[in-house]
């Protein structure tokens, strides 16, 4: 596919889908069974554009085009640190966050857990998983079991290593601290949603000289992880981990489609900033509401 088409097609697809939804937005009469009032049309545009781009990039991936992802140090470090754990004969500790299974960060964490479980099974390293909710524990156990099976080591899986600690925030922190201090894991992986216990876990892990890899989209806790952990996956990097590790064409295609949408958001932000600056400099008292116009107000 020639280079020009590679750029034009995704832009065209995104603009096309967004334009359809945008034009639709004021013209669909709300009924009992369907409504596009308010920002709903914009949401549909984003999701539809993402889906359309996904299929475009899938098509390209299956044609054999290489899809580039920039290096994410934290994800590369996962495999290195699992190897380090194997050499030292110490386990890997994986913490799935302090939210329940309905939270998207927990889902992302469990998806990464599957990859980590396969890796630890291949390396013959013990994996301990600490969970905040029992239902997350149940799902995590299935994922770890599947990971070991995929690696051809179903016998090595120990169900008692996937633990429910406590649903109380600081009791959970105390329990995980106990595991860190007693079992001395060589690698601590904290991926999911965390709150105040993040620094408690990370500092305790530092005491045991473990390599610590954290990933969260919880903005208030990112500074603590960045200060206390060796590698931190910030926000969307956490969601990109499974694509990065497996390099599966489907997952890479999804990642690329998100990137294109992000580029459009940046373009919109720039346009909005220029527009607002112009309004301000022109002394406009009733500036046109660009955002409101986009969502059909």
């Amino acid at each position: 596919m020639n280079a020009r088409l590679k750029i034009i097609v995704p832009i065209g697809v995104t603009i096309g889908v967004a334009a359809i939804a945008f034009l639709w937005r004021g013209n669909v009469e709300p009924s009992r069974w369907f409504t596009l009032e308010g920002p709903r049309a914009m949401y549909v545009a984003i999701v539809a554009a993402m889906a359309a781009l996904l299929y475009y990039y899938l098509f390209r991936a299956r044609r054999g085009d290489e899809i580039y992802i920039r290096r994410i140090a934290g994800v590369d470090a996962i495999e290195e640190s699992v190897g380090r754990s194997t050499e030292m004969g110490r386990p890997v500790l994986y913490v799935t966050g302090v939210e329940d299974i309905t939270n998207i960060q927990t889902i992302a964490s469990l998806l990464v857990l599957g990859q980590v479980a396969e890796m630890t099974a291949e390396y013959d390293t013990e994996l301990k998983v600490a969970n905040f909710y029992p239902i997350t524990m149940v799902v995590a156990e299935e994922i770890v079991k599947q990971g070991y099976t995929n690696a051809g080591r179903p016998d090595a899986h120990k169900p008692q290593n996937v633990m429910f600690i406590s649903s109380e925030q600081f009791a959970f922190a105390a329990g995980v601290n106990g595991i860190i201090l007693r079992d001395q894991p060589a690698t601590n992986i904290y991926i999911g949603r965390f709150f105040a216990e993040s620094l408690i876990l990370a500092e305790t892990g530092y005491l045991t000289k473990a390599i610590q890899i954290a990933g969260t989209a919880e903005i208030t806790q990112l500074p603590f992880f960045i200060a206390a952990c060796d590698y931190t996956l910030i926000g969307e990097e956490m969601y990109a981990v499974s694509a990065y590790m497996t390099r599966e064409s489907r997952l890479l295609a999804m990642l690329k489609s998100t990137d294109v949408i992000k580029a459009f958001v940046i373009a919109l932000l720039l346009a909005g900033a220029v527009f607002a600056t112009y309004n301000h400099l022109a002394g406009s008292h009733e500036p046109w509401d660009l955002g409101g116009w986009l969502v059909g107000k």
Partner: protein, 350 residues
């Protein structure tokens, strides 16, 4: 088949949840809320699994006397104790009454007051009359001084005509309260009326605590209480549960949170080093924000709070918004991956 069915279910339910925003029909919403309620019930049932897991993981370690096995004994004993205290034992077989009232005496002409007497089985009970500060039901001369221990004199007060609300309670949470309403009449009843009143109280002891008891001037109404100790975790909270909450849970919770103060200092010592330009900027911003946030910074110079506000409002908000937008798009992509069936690592490999 083993991975196809979960995939299909996941796709269908995912799109159904997505559609909730676009389909205002009440039947659609009903299904959505029904599924959400079932999810909550399932999550609550999963706690039983969690409890079993806690025992399964820790009991073998106690049996084998592994390292720090004593802490696991504390864990299991604590879990069982809190679970036991959380059950409403006092309500088994129906809730007991916390007290009763009886009216006695003949009306005396011209007194204008009725007498309120107490006969409390609880020596440390406190009495609140018409919202006034509490007084002791058993005292040694001065019932208003509740800092002194209970005495041997039973509380007795005069009630002027009108409606009065009396509450008898223990000084601590976790016990029943006995609330009564007393209506002191302006005129003395005939003896026939008194007989009717007395029979009414005897026939309807439970209602006597709800409806005002009519009392004539000169009569004595005796409030007897035996305040039931509550159990259980729901409102009203049980005594044992409240004690464990106040003396174990609260301090432990606060202690763990307090560790953060020390850990922040040690993490800052270790991490905020000016190794390169970016980390020097980070360290400078951290120091300026910390100084600007506290009164000591304002005392040093009024410029510090302004710098702190500018850093937080301009630089910090910008970065946060960027991360939030990226994370939001990543979350949409992750959700779409699961809904479209692209992500299958939770189901097994192809």
């Amino acid at each position: 088949m083993k991975s196809t069915i979960p995939l299909v279910i996941g796709c269908f339910v995912g799109w159904f949840a997505f559609g909730e925003l676009y389909v205002p029909h009440e039947d659609y919403r009903w299904v959505f809320e029904f599924l959400r309620d079932q999810a909550q019930i399932l999550a609550a049932m999963a706690f039983i699994l969690g409890g079993i897991n806690v025992i399964q993981v820790n009991y073998p370690k106690i049996r084998r006397r592994e390292a720090d096995w004593q802490y696991k004994v504390v864990l299991l004993v604590g879990a069982v104790a809190m679970g036991t205290a959380g059950l409403r034992w006092h309500a088994l077989g129906g809730e007991a009454d916390s007290g009763s009232m009886a009216v006695s005496g003949t009306a005396a002409v011209g007194t204008g007051y009725a007498t309120l007497a107490f006969d409390s089985a609880d020596r440390d009970a406190l009495v609140i009359i018409d919202g006034a500060p509490p007084v002791r039901a058993w005292h040694s001369g001065n019932p208003s001084d509740i800092t002194k221990p209970p005495g041997d004199q039973a509380l007795s007060v005069q009630l002027r005509p009108g409606e009065h609300v009396i509450t008898v309670r223990k000084p601590v949470e976790g016990y029943a309260k006995h609330e009564v309403s007393i209506l002191v009449a302006d005129n003395e009843p005939t003896s026939a009326k008194y007989e009717i009143l007395k029979r009414w109280v005897e026939l309807l002891p439970a209602a006597a605590a709800v409806l005002p008891i009519n009392v004539a001037p000169g009569q004595v109404v005796t409030v007897s209480t035996d305040l039931v100790m509550y159990w259980g975790a729901g409102s009203p909270h049980g005594r044992v549960f409240t004690w464990m909450y106040d003396h174990i849970f609260f301090p432990c919770n606060a202690t763990m949170f307090a560790l953060l103060a020390f850990f922040i200092a040690s993490a800052a010592f270790r991490a905020f080093r000016a190794r390169n330009t970016e980390s020097a900027l980070l360290l400078g911003a951290a120091i300026l924000v910390m100084i600007g946030l506290v009164p000591i910074g304002r005392a040093m110079s009024p410029i510090f709070p302004e710098i702190e506000e500018w850093i937080m409002d301009t630089l910090n908000t910008t970065g946060r918004r960027a991360i939030m937008m990226g994370a939001a798009l990543g979350a949409i992509a992750t959700g779409l991956r699961v809904i479209l069936g692209i992500e299958r690592s939770h189901l097994g490999s192809d």
